[in-house]
Symmetry: C2
Subunit: 186 residues, 2 copies
C-alpha cells in the first residue's frame, strides 16, 4: 500500500478511497497481469492448439511478474478479465469432449502448470537462466553420486534446457493425458 501510494505521490491513506483493502489491491495486481492475456476472437478447429495457445498466453503473461504468481495461484480477482480468460480456456478444453469433474480438473491442472512452471523457473533452483541458478545447479551436481543419482542427472539437464521447452513438454504431456482420459471414457 505505502509503496504504491509513494509511487503515486500521495500519502498511504489516499489509496483507501479507491480500494477497500490490501487484498483488494492484490486482486487488482492479478487483474493487471491477466489483462496481458490475448483471447482469440474465434476458436480454431483443433481444441489442442486453442488450449495450448491460451496456456502459453497465461505462462507468458505471468512470467514477468514472479512476485504476483502466488497471488494468481491463490485466485485473487474474479474480474471480467479473469472470467473471460477462464471461460475461453474452459470452452477450448470442453471441445476435447471433457465435461463435469473432468473439465474442472483439466482447467485446474492446465492453469496450475502454467503458473507454477513460470514460478519455479524464476524462484526455483532447478532451472537455467536465472541469476544464481548456475551456482545452485552446481551444488546439486556436487551431491554424493550414489545417494542422489537422478537429482544429479536432472541438474545436468537443467544447465542447458530452456524454460520454454520445459513448459511446452510438461503441457504436452498433460494434454496427452487429458485427451486419453476422454478417449478411454467413450
Amino acid at each position: 500500500m505505502r509503496a504504491v501510494a509513494a509511487r503515486l505521490g500521495t500519502g498511504p491513506m489516499t489509496l483507501y478511497n479507491y480500494v477497500a483493502d490490501r487484498a483488494a489491491l492484490d486482486a487488482l495486481v492479478v487483474d493487471g497481469v491477466l489483462r496481458g492475456i490475448t483471447i482469440p476472437h474465434s476458436p480454431s478447429s483443433d481444441w489442442r492448439v486453442d488450449v495450448r495457445g491460451l496456456a502459453e498466453e497465461l505462462w507468458r503473461a505471468v512470467r514477468p511478474h514472479p512476485n504476483a504468481i502466488p497471488l494468481v495461484l491463490a485466485r485473487r480477482s474474479q474480474s471480467e478479465t479473469f472470467l473471460d480468460a477462464a471461460e475461453a480456456l474452459l470452452a477450448a478444453l470442453a471441445r476435447s469432449g471433457l465435461d463435469g469433474e473432468d473439465l474442472l480438473v483439466a482447467f485446474r491442472a492446465v492453469t496450475t502448470l502454467a503458473a507454477a512452471f513460470a514460478q519455479t523457473e524464476l524462484t526455483g533452483p532447478l532451472s537455467a537462466r536465472n541469476g544464481g541458478a548456475d551456482a545452485t545447479i552446481d551444488r546439486f551436481r556436487s551431491l554424493p553420486t550414489e545417494r542422489y543419482p537422478r537429482l544429479i542427472e536432472i541438474a545436468g539437464v537443467a544447465r542447458t534446457s530452456t524454460p520454454e521447452a520445459e513448459f511446452r513438454r510438461g503441457l504436452e504431456a498433460l494434454l496427452d493425458g487429458l485427451q486419453q482420459k476422454f478417449t478411454q471414457r467413450r
Copy 2:
C-alpha cells in the same frame, strides 16, 4: 520472526543465534512440512503406484499448511529431507523409462500439481469444503448463462466434488500423459 520468538518466550533477536535470516527460517518451515512425507523403504514393482504414493504423500503433507505452500513451490529448503524425497520421486519416475529433460519436466509437473491443487483447494474459489467457498460458488453460478456457460458448469460440479477425488483425477491424467510420452518415444 517476532511471532516465533514470542511463541518461544524470548525476544526477537535470540532467533538470530540459530538462523541467519527470515529466508532461512522459511527454509526450516518448508523442511518441517516436507518431513511429514513418508518414503517407502523399497520401491514396488509398479512405478505408477510409487509415483502416485509419493505424490499423495506430498499433497497430504502440504494440505494442513496452506500458508507454507507458496514457499514449497518457490523451493525453499535444500535440506536432506527435500533431497531424499525428491530423489525417491525421481527414481520412481525414472522407472517408467523417462530420463533427461523428460524426467526433469515430469518431476516438476507432478510436484507442482500436488502443491498447487492443495493450495487452490484451500485459497481458491472453485472448490468445495472451505469456509466461504459455497458463497463464491454461488456467485459463479449466478453469472450470465450465455457468457459463462462452462464456468457455471464447473461451479456446479465443485459443490459436490471432493479435493481428494479432484487431485487424484488430475494426477492420473498427468501420469497417463507421461507414460504415453515414453511409449511414443520407443
